[in-house]
Amino acid sequence: MVIAIGTCERCESPIEQGDLRCAICGVCVSVDTGRREAIAIEVMRCDECGAVVEYDERHQAPHCAFCEATMHLERIEDPVEQTELYLPFSVDGREASLTVKRWLGSLGWFRPADLKSKAEVEGVRPLWWVGWAFDAEALVSWTADSNAGAGRSAWAPHAGQVQLHFDDLVVSASRGLSDKEAAHITPSYNLNSAEPSVEPPEGTTIEKFDVQRSQARDRIRSAIRGVATRIIANEHVPGSQTRKVKVEPLLRELVTRRYSFPAWVMAYRYEGKVYRAVVSGQDASIVLGNAPWSYLRIALAVIGGLIFIAMIGLAAALGT
Protein backbone atom coordinates (compact mmCIF):
# COMPACT_ATOMS: atom_id res chain seq x y z
CA MET A 1 0.00 0.00 0.00
CA VAL A 2 1.49 3.34 -1.03
CA ILE A 3 0.35 6.25 1.08
CA ALA A 4 3.07 8.81 0.41
CA ILE A 5 2.47 10.73 -2.83
CA GLY A 6 5.40 13.10 -2.70
CA THR A 7 7.70 15.05 -0.44
CA CYS A 8 7.26 18.45 1.15
CA GLU A 9 9.38 21.11 -0.57
CA ARG A 10 10.36 22.67 2.73
CA CYS A 11 10.77 20.01 5.40
CA GLU A 12 11.10 16.94 3.16
CA SER A 13 8.49 14.98 5.10
CA PRO A 14 6.36 12.70 2.95
CA ILE A 15 3.03 14.07 1.79
CA GLU A 16 0.34 11.44 2.08
CA GLN A 17 -2.70 10.75 -0.07
CA GLY A 18 -5.46 13.20 0.84
CA ASP A 19 -3.22 15.88 2.40
CA LEU A 20 -3.78 19.42 1.17
CA ARG A 21 -0.91 20.78 3.25
CA CYS A 22 2.21 19.34 4.82
CA ALA A 23 1.23 18.04 8.25
CA ILE A 24 4.58 19.02 9.75
CA CYS A 25 5.33 22.52 8.49
CA GLY A 26 2.10 23.62 6.78
CA VAL A 27 3.30 24.12 3.21
CA CYS A 28 0.57 23.76 0.61
CA VAL A 29 0.66 20.68 -1.59
CA SER A 30 0.94 22.34 -4.96
CA VAL A 31 -1.14 21.35 -7.91
CA ASP A 32 -0.42 22.79 -11.29
CA THR A 33 -3.54 24.69 -12.23
CA GLY A 34 -1.92 26.28 -15.26
CA ARG A 35 -2.10 29.95 -16.18
CA ARG A 36 -5.31 31.40 -17.43
CA GLU A 37 -4.83 33.82 -20.30
CA ALA A 38 -8.39 35.03 -20.82
CA ILE A 39 -11.46 35.69 -18.69
CA ALA A 40 -13.53 32.58 -18.09
CA ILE A 41 -17.15 32.85 -17.00
CA GLU A 42 -19.05 29.93 -15.67
CA VAL A 43 -22.44 29.11 -14.21
CA MET A 44 -22.31 25.97 -12.10
CA ARG A 45 -24.60 23.26 -13.37
CA CYS A 46 -25.60 19.96 -11.87
CA ASP A 47 -23.69 17.03 -13.38
CA GLU A 48 -26.82 14.90 -13.14
CA CYS A 49 -29.66 17.06 -14.45
CA GLY A 50 -28.06 20.25 -15.77
CA ALA A 51 -29.96 22.60 -13.43
CA VAL A 52 -28.14 25.58 -11.95
CA VAL A 53 -26.69 24.61 -8.56
CA GLU A 54 -25.56 26.61 -5.56
CA TYR A 55 -23.25 25.86 -2.67
CA ASP A 56 -25.49 24.82 0.21
CA GLU A 57 -24.29 25.20 3.80
CA ARG A 58 -26.48 22.34 5.03
CA HIS A 59 -24.67 19.90 2.75
CA GLN A 60 -21.42 21.85 2.84
CA ALA A 61 -21.08 21.27 -0.89
CA PRO A 62 -22.74 22.46 -4.08
CA HIS A 63 -26.12 20.78 -3.97
CA CYS A 64 -28.77 20.46 -6.65
CA ALA A 65 -32.21 21.38 -5.34
CA PHE A 66 -33.91 19.55 -8.21
CA CYS A 67 -32.32 16.13 -8.25
CA GLU A 68 -30.66 16.15 -4.79
CA ALA A 69 -27.23 15.45 -6.28
CA THR A 70 -24.27 16.72 -4.24
CA MET A 71 -20.98 17.63 -5.88
CA HIS A 72 -17.72 16.28 -4.54
CA LEU A 73 -15.21 18.79 -3.17
CA GLU A 74 -11.56 17.99 -2.57
CA ARG A 75 -11.05 18.21 1.16
CA ILE A 76 -8.42 17.01 3.63
CA GLU A 77 -8.89 13.30 4.05
CA ASP A 78 -8.40 11.85 7.47
CA PRO A 79 -8.62 8.09 7.01
CA VAL A 80 -8.26 5.55 9.78
CA GLU A 81 -4.69 4.27 9.88
CA GLN A 82 -3.93 0.90 8.33
CA THR A 83 -1.03 -1.48 8.64
CA GLU A 84 1.47 -1.23 5.78
CA LEU A 85 3.98 -3.81 6.95
CA TYR A 86 3.68 -7.03 8.96
CA LEU A 87 6.50 -8.55 11.00
CA PRO A 88 6.38 -12.36 10.76
CA PHE A 89 6.28 -14.66 13.79
CA SER A 90 9.60 -16.44 14.31
CA VAL A 91 8.64 -17.87 17.71
CA ASP A 92 5.94 -20.56 17.76
CA GLY A 93 3.29 -21.18 20.40
CA ARG A 94 5.14 -24.10 22.01
CA GLU A 95 8.30 -22.04 22.48
CA ALA A 96 6.25 -19.18 23.88
CA SER A 97 4.56 -21.33 26.52
CA LEU A 98 7.90 -22.94 27.47
CA THR A 99 9.30 -19.43 27.90
CA VAL A 100 6.45 -18.45 30.18
CA LYS A 101 6.84 -21.65 32.23
CA ARG A 102 10.55 -20.95 32.63
CA TRP A 103 9.79 -17.33 33.45
CA LEU A 104 7.31 -18.39 36.16
CA GLY A 105 10.10 -20.40 37.82
CA SER A 106 12.56 -17.52 37.67
CA LEU A 107 10.60 -14.84 39.49
CA GLY A 108 12.35 -15.30 42.84
CA TRP A 109 11.60 -16.40 46.35
CA PHE A 110 8.77 -13.93 47.11
CA ARG A 111 6.44 -15.72 44.68
CA PRO A 112 4.40 -18.76 45.78
CA ALA A 113 6.57 -21.94 45.78
CA ASP A 114 4.03 -23.87 43.75
CA LEU A 115 3.51 -21.11 41.14
CA LYS A 116 5.25 -23.01 38.35
CA SER A 117 3.55 -26.33 39.06
CA LYS A 118 0.09 -25.03 39.91
CA ALA A 119 -0.31 -22.33 37.25
CA GLU A 120 -2.88 -23.55 34.74
CA VAL A 121 -2.28 -22.22 31.27
CA GLU A 122 -5.60 -21.02 29.86
CA GLY A 123 -4.35 -20.42 26.37
CA VAL A 124 -1.50 -19.10 24.33
CA ARG A 125 -2.80 -16.71 21.69
CA PRO A 126 -0.89 -15.11 18.86
CA LEU A 127 -1.46 -11.36 18.50
CA TRP A 128 -0.50 -8.83 15.88
CA TRP A 129 -0.47 -5.53 17.70
CA VAL A 130 -0.26 -2.23 15.84
CA GLY A 131 2.16 0.65 16.15
CA TRP A 132 4.13 3.25 14.23
CA ALA A 133 7.84 3.41 13.61
CA PHE A 134 9.24 6.73 12.54
CA ASP A 135 12.47 8.36 11.43
CA ALA A 136 13.00 12.10 11.81
CA GLU A 137 15.55 14.85 11.91
CA ALA A 138 14.90 17.40 14.62
CA LEU A 139 16.60 20.64 15.53
CA VAL A 140 15.72 20.69 19.22
CA SER A 141 15.83 23.97 21.13
CA TRP A 142 15.73 23.45 24.87
CA THR A 143 15.72 25.27 28.19
CA ALA A 144 15.99 23.78 31.68
CA ASP A 145 16.89 24.43 35.28
CA SER A 146 19.71 22.37 36.74
CA ASN A 147 22.00 22.36 39.74
CA ALA A 148 25.03 23.13 37.58
CA GLY A 149 26.30 26.65 38.21
CA ALA A 150 23.67 27.25 40.88
CA GLY A 151 24.16 30.24 43.15
CA ARG A 152 22.05 30.95 46.19
CA SER A 153 19.09 29.11 44.70
CA ALA A 154 19.42 25.36 44.12
CA TRP A 155 18.68 25.92 40.43
CA ALA A 156 20.34 27.78 37.58
CA PRO A 157 18.85 28.28 34.09
CA HIS A 158 20.41 26.73 30.97
CA ALA A 159 19.53 26.75 27.27
CA GLY A 160 20.80 25.12 24.11
CA GLN A 161 20.07 23.84 20.66
CA VAL A 162 21.01 20.42 19.33
CA GLN A 163 20.42 18.35 16.23
CA LEU A 164 18.85 14.98 17.01
CA HIS A 165 18.28 12.09 14.70
CA PHE A 166 15.55 9.54 15.33
CA ASP A 167 15.73 6.18 13.68
CA ASP A 168 13.04 3.49 13.77
CA LEU A 169 11.48 4.71 16.98
CA VAL A 170 8.36 2.70 17.81
CA VAL A 171 5.16 4.20 19.24
CA SER A 172 2.45 1.76 20.28
CA ALA A 173 -1.11 2.19 19.04
CA SER A 174 -2.21 -1.04 20.68
CA ARG A 175 -5.32 -1.39 22.79
CA GLY A 176 -4.59 -5.02 23.67
CA LEU A 177 -1.14 -4.41 25.13
CA SER A 178 -0.32 -1.83 27.75
CA ASP A 179 2.30 0.79 26.86
CA LYS A 180 4.64 -0.87 29.34
CA GLU A 181 4.26 -4.28 27.71
CA ALA A 182 4.71 -2.84 24.23
CA ALA A 183 7.80 -0.86 25.26
CA HIS A 184 9.34 -3.94 26.90
CA ILE A 185 9.09 -6.21 23.87
CA THR A 186 9.72 -3.57 21.17
CA PRO A 187 13.57 -3.84 21.18
CA SER A 188 13.29 -7.53 20.25
CA TYR A 189 11.86 -6.84 16.80
CA ASN A 190 13.81 -6.79 13.58
CA LEU A 191 12.01 -4.14 11.52
CA ASN A 192 13.89 -5.24 8.39
CA SER A 193 11.99 -8.52 8.43
CA ALA A 194 8.71 -6.72 7.73
CA GLU A 195 6.74 -7.53 4.63
CA PRO A 196 3.56 -6.12 3.07
CA SER A 197 1.72 -9.40 3.55
CA VAL A 198 2.52 -12.33 5.80
CA GLU A 199 0.52 -15.47 6.58
CA PRO A 200 -0.29 -15.34 10.32
CA PRO A 201 -0.36 -18.40 12.62
CA GLU A 202 -3.80 -19.93 13.01
CA GLY A 203 -6.12 -18.02 15.33
CA THR A 204 -4.08 -14.83 15.34
CA THR A 205 -5.86 -11.80 16.76
CA ILE A 206 -5.17 -9.09 14.21
CA GLU A 207 -5.44 -5.70 15.87
CA LYS A 208 -6.55 -2.77 13.75
CA PHE A 209 -5.52 0.83 14.18
CA ASP A 210 -8.45 2.70 15.71
CA VAL A 211 -7.13 6.23 15.26
CA GLN A 212 -7.35 8.60 12.36
CA ARG A 213 -4.30 9.93 10.61
CA SER A 214 -4.46 13.38 12.24
CA GLN A 215 -4.60 11.85 15.73
CA ALA A 216 -1.78 9.50 14.79
CA ARG A 217 0.36 12.48 13.84
CA ASP A 218 -0.40 14.16 17.15
CA ARG A 219 0.60 11.01 19.03
CA ILE A 220 3.83 10.67 17.08
CA ARG A 221 4.63 14.32 17.65
CA SER A 222 4.06 14.02 21.38
CA ALA A 223 6.17 10.84 21.42
CA ILE A 224 8.99 12.76 19.73
CA ARG A 225 8.64 15.47 22.34
CA GLY A 226 8.80 12.88 25.14
CA VAL A 227 11.88 11.14 23.73
CA ALA A 228 13.61 14.47 23.03
CA THR A 229 12.90 15.67 26.58
CA ARG A 230 14.48 12.48 27.98
CA ILE A 231 17.53 12.74 25.74
CA ILE A 232 18.03 16.44 26.51
CA ALA A 233 17.62 15.92 30.27
CA ASN A 234 20.06 12.99 30.35
CA GLU A 235 22.68 14.02 27.84
CA HIS A 236 22.60 17.74 27.18
CA VAL A 237 21.60 19.67 30.31
CA PRO A 238 24.71 20.09 32.49
CA GLY A 239 24.58 19.04 36.13
CA SER A 240 23.19 15.99 37.91
CA GLN A 241 19.69 17.24 38.75
CA THR A 242 17.27 18.89 36.35
CA ARG A 243 13.78 20.34 36.42
CA LYS A 244 11.48 22.20 34.01
CA VAL A 245 13.10 20.68 30.91
CA LYS A 246 11.31 22.25 27.92
CA VAL A 247 11.92 21.27 24.31
CA GLU A 248 10.83 22.61 20.93
CA PRO A 249 11.62 20.24 18.09
CA LEU A 250 11.77 21.63 14.54
CA LEU A 251 11.01 18.49 12.57
CA ARG A 252 12.28 17.57 9.15
CA GLU A 253 11.96 14.41 7.10
CA LEU A 254 9.46 12.79 9.41
CA VAL A 255 8.78 9.40 7.86
CA THR A 256 6.17 7.21 9.50
CA ARG A 257 5.54 3.53 8.83
CA ARG A 258 2.60 1.56 10.16
CA TYR A 259 3.46 -1.89 11.46
CA SER A 260 1.82 -4.97 12.92
CA PHE A 261 4.10 -6.54 15.52
CA PRO A 262 3.88 -10.24 16.51
CA ALA A 263 3.46 -11.29 20.14
CA TRP A 264 2.18 -14.25 22.12
CA VAL A 265 -0.22 -13.49 24.91
CA MET A 266 -0.53 -16.19 27.54
CA ALA A 267 -3.20 -16.22 30.20
CA TYR A 268 -2.79 -18.49 33.23
CA ARG A 269 -4.83 -19.16 36.32
CA TYR A 270 -3.40 -19.49 39.82
CA GLU A 271 -5.78 -20.13 42.73
CA GLY A 272 -8.76 -18.88 40.77
CA LYS A 273 -7.24 -15.60 39.57
CA VAL A 274 -6.16 -14.91 36.01
CA TYR A 275 -2.75 -13.45 35.19
CA ARG A 276 -1.09 -12.89 31.87
CA ALA A 277 2.31 -12.74 30.26
CA VAL A 278 3.37 -11.40 26.87
CA VAL A 279 6.20 -12.96 24.85
CA SER A 280 7.79 -11.29 21.82
CA GLY A 281 6.89 -13.06 18.59
CA GLN A 282 10.46 -12.68 17.35
CA ASP A 283 12.57 -13.42 20.42
CA ALA A 284 11.44 -16.06 22.93
CA SER A 285 13.70 -14.69 25.66
CA ILE A 286 11.76 -11.42 25.92
CA VAL A 287 8.77 -11.76 28.23
CA LEU A 288 6.81 -9.48 30.51
CA GLY A 289 3.85 -10.38 32.67
CA ASN A 290 2.27 -10.22 36.06
CA ALA A 291 2.31 -12.92 38.71
CA PRO A 292 0.98 -13.34 42.25
CA TRP A 293 3.06 -12.51 45.30
CA SER A 294 3.35 -14.89 48.23
CA TYR A 295 2.23 -12.77 51.17
CA LEU A 296 3.22 -15.56 53.57
CA ARG A 297 6.81 -15.45 52.33
CA ILE A 298 6.94 -11.65 52.35
CA ALA A 299 5.62 -11.65 55.96
CA LEU A 300 8.22 -14.27 56.91
CA ALA A 301 11.00 -12.18 55.43
CA VAL A 302 9.83 -9.03 57.23
CA ILE A 303 9.55 -10.84 60.58
CA GLY A 304 12.93 -12.50 60.01
CA GLY A 305 14.45 -9.12 59.27
CA LEU A 306 12.94 -7.59 62.40
CA ILE A 307 14.26 -10.46 64.56
CA PHE A 308 17.70 -10.02 63.00
CA ILE A 309 17.75 -6.27 63.76
CA ALA A 310 16.50 -6.89 67.30
CA MET A 311 19.24 -9.45 67.89
CA ILE A 312 21.95 -7.06 66.67
CA GLY A 313 20.53 -4.40 68.95
CA LEU A 314 20.51 -6.82 71.86
CA ALA A 315 24.07 -7.92 71.12
CA ALA A 316 25.18 -4.30 70.98
CA ALA A 317 23.37 -3.54 74.25
CA LEU A 318 24.93 -6.56 75.98
CA GLY A 319 28.35 -5.74 74.56
CA THR A 320 28.52 -2.30 76.13
Binding site: L20, V27, I41, V53, E54, L73, A159, Q161
Partner: protein
Amino acid sequence: MNQAVATPLTLGISCENCGADLLVEPHLKTVECPYCASTSIVERPSDGSYVDPVFALGFVVGRERARELCVNWIKSRGIFTPKSFKTALPERGRGLYMPAYLYCAVAHSEYTCKIGENYTETYTTTDSKGRTVVRTRTRTEWRNLAGRSANYVRDILVTASAGISNKLLEQVEPFDLRALLRYTPALLSGWIAEEASIGREECRELARTESIEKIGERLSRFMPGDSHADLEHRTWLEDEVTDLMLLPIWVFAVKHADEEEPVQILVNGQTGEVAGFVPRSWVRILSVVLITLLVAALLFFTIAALAAF
Protein backbone atom coordinates in the same frame (compact mmCIF):
# COMPACT_ATOMS: atom_id res chain seq x y z
CA MET B 1 6.94 47.23 -1.22
CA ASN B 2 3.30 47.68 -1.86
CA GLN B 3 2.19 45.64 -4.82
CA ALA B 4 -0.79 47.66 -5.89
CA VAL B 5 -3.56 45.75 -7.56
CA ALA B 6 -4.45 47.04 -10.98
CA THR B 7 -8.09 47.96 -11.30
CA PRO B 8 -9.35 47.13 -14.73
CA LEU B 9 -12.70 48.39 -15.80
CA THR B 10 -15.98 46.87 -14.82
CA LEU B 11 -16.62 43.80 -16.88
CA GLY B 12 -19.67 43.37 -19.12
CA ILE B 13 -20.76 39.77 -19.56
CA SER B 14 -23.91 38.02 -20.59
CA CYS B 15 -25.58 35.50 -18.30
CA GLU B 16 -24.81 32.01 -19.48
CA ASN B 17 -28.18 30.82 -18.24
CA CYS B 18 -30.65 33.41 -19.63
CA GLY B 19 -28.53 35.67 -21.81
CA ALA B 20 -29.18 38.89 -19.85
CA ASP B 21 -26.42 41.53 -19.86
CA LEU B 22 -24.61 41.77 -16.54
CA LEU B 23 -21.95 44.09 -15.11
CA VAL B 24 -19.27 42.62 -12.84
CA GLU B 25 -17.48 44.94 -10.43
CA PRO B 26 -13.70 44.66 -10.69
CA HIS B 27 -13.32 43.50 -7.05
CA LEU B 28 -15.83 40.66 -7.35
CA LYS B 29 -15.46 37.10 -8.54
CA THR B 30 -19.18 36.44 -8.83
CA VAL B 31 -22.30 38.17 -10.09
CA GLU B 32 -25.92 37.17 -9.58
CA CYS B 33 -28.25 37.57 -12.53
CA PRO B 34 -31.27 39.66 -11.45
CA TYR B 35 -33.51 37.86 -13.96
CA CYS B 36 -32.77 34.20 -13.37
CA ALA B 37 -30.89 34.32 -10.00
CA SER B 38 -28.05 32.17 -11.26
CA THR B 39 -24.52 33.03 -10.21
CA SER B 40 -21.87 33.59 -12.86
CA ILE B 41 -18.36 32.90 -11.62
CA VAL B 42 -15.74 35.09 -13.22
CA GLU B 43 -12.19 33.80 -13.44
CA ARG B 44 -9.84 36.50 -14.57
CA PRO B 45 -6.48 35.83 -16.23
CA SER B 46 -3.71 35.00 -13.76
CA ASP B 47 -1.41 37.91 -14.63
CA GLY B 48 -0.03 38.96 -11.27
CA SER B 49 -2.82 41.30 -10.25
CA TYR B 50 -5.31 38.46 -10.05
CA VAL B 51 -4.27 35.34 -8.18
CA ASP B 52 -6.36 32.21 -7.91
CA PRO B 53 -7.14 31.13 -4.36
CA VAL B 54 -5.51 27.85 -3.36
CA PHE B 55 -7.84 26.93 -0.53
CA ALA B 56 -11.30 27.79 0.74
CA LEU B 57 -13.46 27.04 3.74
CA GLY B 58 -17.13 26.35 3.09
CA PHE B 59 -20.08 28.00 4.83
CA VAL B 60 -21.54 26.02 7.73
CA VAL B 61 -23.68 28.77 9.26
CA GLY B 62 -26.71 29.65 7.14
CA ARG B 63 -28.36 33.04 6.68
CA GLU B 64 -31.06 32.66 9.36
CA ARG B 65 -28.64 31.38 11.99
CA ALA B 66 -26.10 34.12 11.21
CA ARG B 67 -28.77 36.82 11.61
CA GLU B 68 -29.93 35.31 14.89
CA LEU B 69 -26.34 35.24 16.22
CA CYS B 70 -25.88 38.84 15.12
CA VAL B 71 -29.10 40.04 16.84
CA ASN B 72 -28.21 38.24 20.08
CA TRP B 73 -24.74 39.71 20.00
CA ILE B 74 -26.06 43.25 19.55
CA LYS B 75 -28.50 42.78 22.46
CA SER B 76 -25.82 41.49 24.79
CA ARG B 77 -23.50 44.51 24.47
CA GLY B 78 -22.47 46.34 27.64
CA ILE B 79 -23.86 49.22 29.61
CA PHE B 80 -21.97 51.92 27.69
CA THR B 81 -23.57 50.97 24.37
CA PRO B 82 -26.17 53.46 23.08
CA LYS B 83 -29.76 52.24 23.40
CA SER B 84 -30.33 52.99 19.72
CA PHE B 85 -27.63 50.41 18.89
CA LYS B 86 -28.88 47.71 21.25
CA THR B 87 -32.34 47.82 19.74
CA ALA B 88 -31.23 48.22 16.12
CA LEU B 89 -31.91 45.41 13.69
CA PRO B 90 -29.20 44.28 11.29
CA GLU B 91 -29.95 44.83 7.65
CA ARG B 92 -30.02 41.91 5.25
CA GLY B 93 -26.68 40.12 5.64
CA ARG B 94 -24.41 39.14 2.83
CA GLY B 95 -22.65 35.78 2.74
CA LEU B 96 -19.23 36.67 1.49
CA TYR B 97 -16.15 34.68 0.60
CA MET B 98 -13.49 37.11 1.72
CA PRO B 99 -9.92 36.74 0.47
CA ALA B 100 -7.21 36.16 3.06
CA TYR B 101 -3.64 35.00 3.02
CA LEU B 102 -2.63 31.86 4.86
CA TYR B 103 0.95 32.33 5.98
CA CYS B 104 3.54 29.92 7.31
CA ALA B 105 7.28 30.17 7.86
CA VAL B 106 10.27 28.81 9.75
CA ALA B 107 11.22 31.09 12.64
CA HIS B 108 14.72 31.25 14.10
CA SER B 109 15.02 33.38 17.23
CA GLU B 110 17.80 34.58 19.49
CA TYR B 111 16.60 35.63 22.91
CA THR B 112 17.90 37.12 26.12
CA CYS B 113 16.00 37.01 29.38
CA LYS B 114 16.32 37.37 33.13
CA ILE B 115 15.31 34.15 34.87
CA GLY B 116 14.15 34.22 38.49
CA GLU B 117 15.11 31.21 40.63
CA ASN B 118 13.54 31.15 44.07
CA TYR B 119 15.29 30.18 47.28
CA THR B 120 14.38 30.18 50.93
CA GLU B 121 16.25 32.40 53.35
CA THR B 122 16.22 32.29 57.14
CA TYR B 123 16.49 35.55 58.96
CA THR B 124 16.30 36.82 62.52
CA THR B 125 13.84 39.45 63.57
CA THR B 126 11.87 40.58 66.58
CA ASP B 127 8.16 39.80 66.83
CA SER B 128 5.37 42.03 68.12
CA LYS B 129 6.23 41.20 71.73
CA GLY B 130 9.89 42.16 71.27
CA ARG B 131 11.25 38.59 71.27
CA THR B 132 13.96 37.54 68.84
CA VAL B 133 12.65 34.91 66.37
CA VAL B 134 14.02 33.06 63.35
CA ARG B 135 11.77 33.14 60.27
CA THR B 136 12.05 32.03 56.64
CA ARG B 137 11.16 33.94 53.51
CA THR B 138 11.24 33.18 49.77
CA ARG B 139 13.59 35.32 47.73
CA THR B 140 14.38 35.37 44.05
CA GLU B 141 17.80 35.21 42.49
CA TRP B 142 17.96 36.73 38.97
CA ARG B 143 20.17 35.06 36.38
CA ASN B 144 20.80 36.05 32.76
CA LEU B 145 19.95 33.54 30.07
CA ALA B 146 20.61 33.78 26.33
CA GLY B 147 19.71 31.16 23.77
CA ARG B 148 18.26 30.23 20.43
CA SER B 149 15.00 28.68 19.42
CA ALA B 150 13.63 27.41 16.13
CA ASN B 151 10.07 26.58 15.24
CA TYR B 152 7.48 26.52 12.53
CA VAL B 153 4.92 29.32 12.44
CA ARG B 154 1.70 27.98 10.98
CA ASP B 155 -1.84 29.01 10.24
CA ILE B 156 -1.47 32.80 10.37
CA LEU B 157 -4.46 34.36 8.59
CA VAL B 158 -4.43 37.98 7.40
CA THR B 159 -7.03 39.88 5.44
CA ALA B 160 -6.53 40.45 1.71
CA SER B 161 -9.74 42.48 1.47
CA ALA B 162 -9.60 46.25 1.74
CA GLY B 163 -13.19 46.13 3.03
CA ILE B 164 -12.51 44.10 6.19
CA SER B 165 -9.77 45.14 8.59
CA ASN B 166 -7.32 42.61 9.98
CA LYS B 167 -8.31 43.60 13.51
CA LEU B 168 -11.93 42.71 12.87
CA LEU B 169 -10.95 39.45 11.18
CA GLU B 170 -8.82 38.50 14.20
CA GLN B 171 -11.88 38.89 16.40
CA VAL B 172 -13.87 36.24 14.51
CA GLU B 173 -10.91 33.87 14.31
CA PRO B 174 -10.06 31.04 14.74
CA PHE B 175 -11.22 29.11 11.71
CA ASP B 176 -11.00 25.34 11.78
CA LEU B 177 -8.42 24.69 9.09
CA ARG B 178 -8.93 20.94 9.30
CA ALA B 179 -12.00 21.52 7.12
CA LEU B 180 -9.85 23.11 4.40
CA LEU B 181 -11.07 22.60 0.85
CA ARG B 182 -9.11 22.84 -2.34
CA TYR B 183 -10.48 25.96 -4.06
CA THR B 184 -12.89 25.29 -6.84
CA PRO B 185 -15.21 27.81 -8.52
CA ALA B 186 -18.13 25.48 -7.68
CA LEU B 187 -17.91 26.66 -4.05
CA LEU B 188 -18.78 30.22 -5.00
CA SER B 189 -22.03 29.40 -6.72
CA GLY B 190 -24.84 31.35 -5.07
CA TRP B 191 -22.53 33.50 -2.95
CA ILE B 192 -20.56 36.70 -3.27
CA ALA B 193 -16.82 36.28 -3.64
CA GLU B 194 -14.21 39.02 -3.62
CA GLU B 195 -10.92 39.31 -5.44
CA ALA B 196 -7.89 40.05 -3.27
CA SER B 197 -7.67 43.82 -2.98
CA ILE B 198 -4.52 44.05 -0.84
CA GLY B 199 -1.23 42.99 -2.37
CA ARG B 200 0.60 39.86 -1.26
CA GLU B 201 3.61 41.85 0.00
CA GLU B 202 1.51 44.12 2.23
CA CYS B 203 -0.29 41.07 3.66
CA ARG B 204 3.01 39.37 4.26
CA GLU B 205 4.09 42.32 6.42
CA LEU B 206 0.91 41.97 8.48
CA ALA B 207 1.53 38.24 8.80
CA ARG B 208 5.13 38.80 9.90
CA THR B 209 3.99 41.15 12.66
CA GLU B 210 1.47 38.57 13.83
CA SER B 211 4.08 35.81 13.70
CA ILE B 212 6.62 37.77 15.76
CA GLU B 213 3.90 38.40 18.37
CA LYS B 214 3.06 34.70 18.46
CA ILE B 215 6.72 33.77 18.87
CA GLY B 216 7.05 36.21 21.78
CA GLU B 217 4.18 34.42 23.55
CA ARG B 218 5.68 31.04 22.75
CA LEU B 219 9.11 32.06 24.07
CA SER B 220 7.54 33.35 27.25
CA ARG B 221 6.13 29.85 27.89
CA PHE B 222 9.48 28.33 26.92
CA MET B 223 11.50 30.06 29.64
CA PRO B 224 12.70 27.96 32.61
CA GLY B 225 12.86 29.12 36.23
CA ASP B 226 10.15 30.17 38.67
CA SER B 227 9.60 33.50 36.90
CA HIS B 228 11.15 35.62 34.19
CA ALA B 229 11.46 39.24 33.14
CA ASP B 230 12.83 41.42 30.32
CA LEU B 231 12.41 38.78 27.61
CA GLU B 232 13.75 40.15 24.33
CA HIS B 233 14.08 38.34 21.05
CA ARG B 234 15.29 38.83 17.50
CA THR B 235 13.51 36.61 15.03
CA TRP B 236 14.23 35.71 11.42
CA LEU B 237 11.42 34.33 9.33
CA GLU B 238 12.60 32.04 6.57
CA ASP B 239 11.01 29.87 3.91
CA GLU B 240 7.84 31.93 3.95
CA VAL B 241 4.80 30.60 2.13
CA THR B 242 1.65 32.66 1.55
CA ASP B 243 -1.37 31.02 -0.03
CA LEU B 244 -4.46 32.94 -1.01
CA MET B 245 -7.62 31.44 0.44
CA LEU B 246 -11.31 32.32 0.78
CA LEU B 247 -12.99 32.57 4.19
CA PRO B 248 -16.74 32.31 4.73
CA ILE B 249 -17.98 35.48 6.42
CA TRP B 250 -21.43 36.94 7.00
CA VAL B 251 -21.36 40.72 6.89
CA PHE B 252 -24.15 42.74 8.50
CA ALA B 253 -24.55 46.50 8.53
CA VAL B 254 -26.29 48.08 11.50
CA LYS B 255 -27.64 51.58 11.13
CA HIS B 256 -28.52 52.79 14.63
CA ALA B 257 -28.68 56.57 14.30
CA ASP B 258 -29.26 58.87 11.35
CA GLU B 259 -26.08 60.90 11.83
CA GLU B 260 -23.83 57.83 12.38
CA GLU B 261 -22.11 55.61 9.85
CA PRO B 262 -23.52 52.07 9.81
CA VAL B 263 -21.58 49.63 12.02
CA GLN B 264 -20.04 46.59 10.32
CA ILE B 265 -20.60 43.29 12.11
CA LEU B 266 -18.96 40.05 11.03
CA VAL B 267 -20.16 36.52 11.72
CA ASN B 268 -17.71 33.69 11.14
CA GLY B 269 -19.49 31.54 8.52
CA GLN B 270 -17.85 28.42 9.88
CA THR B 271 -17.99 28.78 13.67
CA GLY B 272 -20.64 31.49 14.24
CA GLU B 273 -18.26 33.77 16.18
CA VAL B 274 -19.49 37.41 16.06
CA ALA B 275 -17.44 40.62 16.17
CA GLY B 276 -17.78 44.31 15.42
CA PHE B 277 -16.69 47.67 16.74
CA VAL B 278 -19.43 48.75 19.12
CA PRO B 279 -20.19 52.47 19.36
CA ARG B 280 -19.82 54.05 22.80
CA SER B 281 -22.44 56.34 24.25
CA TRP B 282 -20.62 59.29 25.89
CA VAL B 283 -23.84 60.34 27.57
CA ARG B 284 -24.06 56.94 29.27
CA ILE B 285 -20.40 56.89 30.28
CA LEU B 286 -20.67 60.43 31.69
CA SER B 287 -23.86 59.69 33.62
CA VAL B 288 -22.35 56.55 35.20
CA VAL B 289 -19.29 58.56 36.27
CA LEU B 290 -21.48 61.36 37.69
CA ILE B 291 -23.75 58.97 39.60
CA THR B 292 -20.71 57.22 41.10
CA LEU B 293 -19.26 60.57 42.19
CA LEU B 294 -22.60 61.64 43.67
CA VAL B 295 -22.97 58.43 45.69
CA ALA B 296 -19.37 58.71 46.92
CA ALA B 297 -19.90 62.35 47.96
CA LEU B 298 -23.15 61.51 49.74
CA LEU B 299 -21.48 58.68 51.62
CA PHE B 300 -18.56 60.91 52.55
CA PHE B 301 -20.78 63.67 53.97
CA THR B 302 -23.01 61.22 55.81
CA ILE B 303 -20.00 59.65 57.52
CA ALA B 304 -18.46 63.06 58.20
CA ALA B 305 -21.72 64.29 59.73
CA LEU B 306 -22.03 61.15 61.90
CA ALA B 307 -18.42 61.46 63.04
CA ALA B 308 -18.98 65.09 64.06
CA PHE B 309 -21.57 64.07 66.69
